[in-house]
């Protein structure tokens, strides 16, 4: 009788394994040239938490080289690539029909993208093509159909359950560490063909800000400046040496960006980048709710501001009230 039960259990177990094999998570992996972006590695961490095997989708001429980088990553079961030039710039009009056709033809339960500009452009369009309501910028995977995401500039934390057949979500990279764990198994790379899209949008050009510094969204330390720096000259003179000393990325408040102290792409906040480094050093930033939305999950927040009533001090672990034009050079020198 005992052997009967164990046989029954074994049979059930094999059935369970079988059904699991069909449940899998499709993950869009973004690349810069032949390299996988840090945000995509964070997206894989979120995908692992769903618990099903992962199919990674890489697009563009260098997708095969990039694909090899994640072939041995934990949870990655299969890699799909398309080397078509049409996917080179991840235009949502081109990518969405391809993704929709993959999701329609297989039993994927989840589709994740990084919450990058590319991912945020593609995900909702895929949702429309499949008649599915996506979730933006999830920060936690509770179960395969339930996720946590911030709303109201991070002032309300929403736990939400998806009732659609395929769960679509973009993943906030600051909430998940980039995946590091390797598995023994090397995933197969399979080439898929271009899907006709009817796209009429043309890519014209791109002006990227070149920087030797770490990327804002993956840096361990961020030095950020606000209106208190007065002008571009002071922003450059005071913050660059400090950031260099700390091997930090540079960030800015909206006020600093609007006043042309630095480029838009450095903006931290609800409408800019969301970061969660080990150290966030806010210099001359008052701490409006839109800014806090982009950095309040940092491990340690340090604020330097002359106004002791500034809201930034309510969330700073270490605060120093005083003249930043004196404090910052001294700090840079003593570090």
């Amino acid at each position: 009788m005992f052997s009967n039960i164990s046989r029954l259990l074994a049979k059930r177990a094999s059935k369970f394994v079988l059904s699991c094999r069909f449940n899998s998570t499709l993950t869009l992996i973004e690349t810069t040239g032949p390299n996988v972006t840090p945000a995509s590695l964070s997206t894989l961490t979120a995908a692992v938490k769903v618990g099903n095997p992962i199919t990674a989708l890489l697009l563009g001429p260098e997708s095969e080289v990039a694909g090899k980088q994640i072939a041995a990553v934990e949870g990655v079961d299969k890699i799909l690539i398309s080397k078509s030039d049409k996917y080179a710039h991840l235009l949502p009009e081109e990518v969405s029909p391809l993704v929709a056709s993959i999701l329609k033809s297989s039993d994927y339960t989840n589709f994740f993208v990084p919450a990058s500009t590319a991912g945020k452009g593609i995900l909702p369009r895929v949702g429309a093509l499949l008649d599915v309501q996506p979730l933006s910028e999830i920060t936690k995977v509770v179960s395969p159909d339930t996720f946590v995401r911030p709303t109201y500039a991070g002032n309300a934390i929403l736990t939400v359950k998806c009732k659609d057949k395929v769960k679509l979500a973009s993943v906030r990279s600051s909430a998940f560490d980039p995946i590091e764990r390797k598995s023994e198994k090397i995933a197969d790379i399979k080439e898929i063909s271009y899907v006709e899209s009817g796209n009429k949008t043309q890519y014209v050009s791109e002006q990227l800000i070149k920087s030797e510094r770490p990327e804002l969204d993956s840096a361990k330390i961020v030095v950020s400046g606000g209106r208190g720096l007065k002008d571009k000259e002071h922003f450059d003179q005071l913050l660059y040496p400090l950031a260099d000393k700390l091997h930090a990325a540079l960030g800015a408040s909206r006020a600093a960006v609007d006043a042309d102290f630095c480029d838009n792409s450095l903006q931290v906040g609800q409408t800019g980048k969301v970061v969660a480094p080990n150290l966030y050093l806010a210099v001359g930033i008052s701490g409006a709710i839109q800014h806090l939305a982009g950095m309040k999950d940092s491990k340690v927040i340090v604020a330097i501001n002359k106004d002791e009533e500034a809201p930034i001090f309510k969330i700073a672990d270490v605060g120093m009230v005083g003249d930043l034009f004196k404090i910052v050079p001294e700090l840079t020198e003593k570090l």
């Binding site: 949702g127 309501q133 791109e206 980048k273």
Partner: protein, 256 residues
């Protein structure tokens, strides 16, 4: 395609950007009683851009139609849009319900069809649900080109549109023929304040009200709110009096 541009500007009424919302006692939404509401800042930029385009291309832009989906109280944001340059407007009344982006895009698709709009300009995200989806979904439903996070829009004489988009590492430029959907970023323009006489004049402009359920669209929610919580509160920090103390404290916290 007709050689005229008909612009549609969807706008949303949201809790004012300067306010910190409070979560209600049942933890399924935020308090709305006695709270100041305003036009979503990105939508304000969208209506401003539509008006700018109409002014710059006299004769080419036939009309600007503003639409909002929400309670009857959302009339005031339509009035603002009319005062800023919209010619006509419609309120799609959903009573107390807040619709998800998919349902909103389906309604907007219907409005586009009725209006024969060929250029839709809308905010990149609403500052309440922070979804950032509706523009892309609408473009997907219509099969149109999409240009999100626009910081510059240029309409060419051949009715192609060039858009600078703010992307992660800088700026990207795309070009597409009409019809298309553009979503606005903060840097596209600075919305002007509306003077009282313009607000008064706007009262005479058309504002139609229709019921969402009369549109024959399935607007059932696909998502179920499990809970809505306050974010965890950070412990109060310390203030230091010197740079040496500052460095010591950062070391103690293993920040450097």
């Amino acid at each position: 395609m007709s050689s005229k541009i008909r612009i549609l500007v969807p706008i949303k009424k949201v809790i004012d950007a300067a306010l910190k919302p409070r979560i209600n006692k049942t933890h399924n939404g935020v308090e709305s009683a006695g709270v100041k509401f305003s036009i979503n800042p990105f939508d304000d930029i969208a209506i401003e851009e539509a008006a700018k385009i109409k002014k710059a291309h006299k004769g080419l832009v036939e009309s600007i139609h503003a639409v909002t989906i929400g309670s009857g109280k959302a009339r005031d944001v339509l009035r603002t849009a009319l005062a800023k340059g919209a010619d006509t407007s419609v309120l799609v009344d959903t009573g107390k319900r807040h619709l998800e982006p998919l349902a909103v895009s389906k309604i907007l698709q219907k409005i586009q069809k009725e209006q024969k709009s060929n250029l839709i300009i809308m905010g990149k995200q609403a500052i309440d649900d922070d979804a950032g989806q509706t523009g892309q979904m609408l473009a997907g439903l219509l099969g149109w080109s999409q240009a999100t996070n626009a910081s510059r829009v240029k309409i060419n004489d051949d009715l192609t549109v060039e858009v600078d988009q703010e992307i992660d590492g800088g700026i990207r430029t795309v070009k597409a023929p009409l019809p298309m959907v553009i979503t606005t970023d903060l840097r596209l323009n600075t919305p002007k304040f509306v003077p009282l006489p313009k607000m008064m004049k706007a009262k005479r402009k058309p504002l139609e009200v229709i019921k969402a359920e009369d549109l024959g669209i399935n607007i059932k929610d696909r998502l179920e709110t499990v809970s809505l919580q306050e974010p965890s509160v950070r412990k109060a920090g310390v203030k230091v009096g010197s740079v040496d103390e500052l460095i010591a404290k950062m070391k103690e916290l293993k920040a450097i």
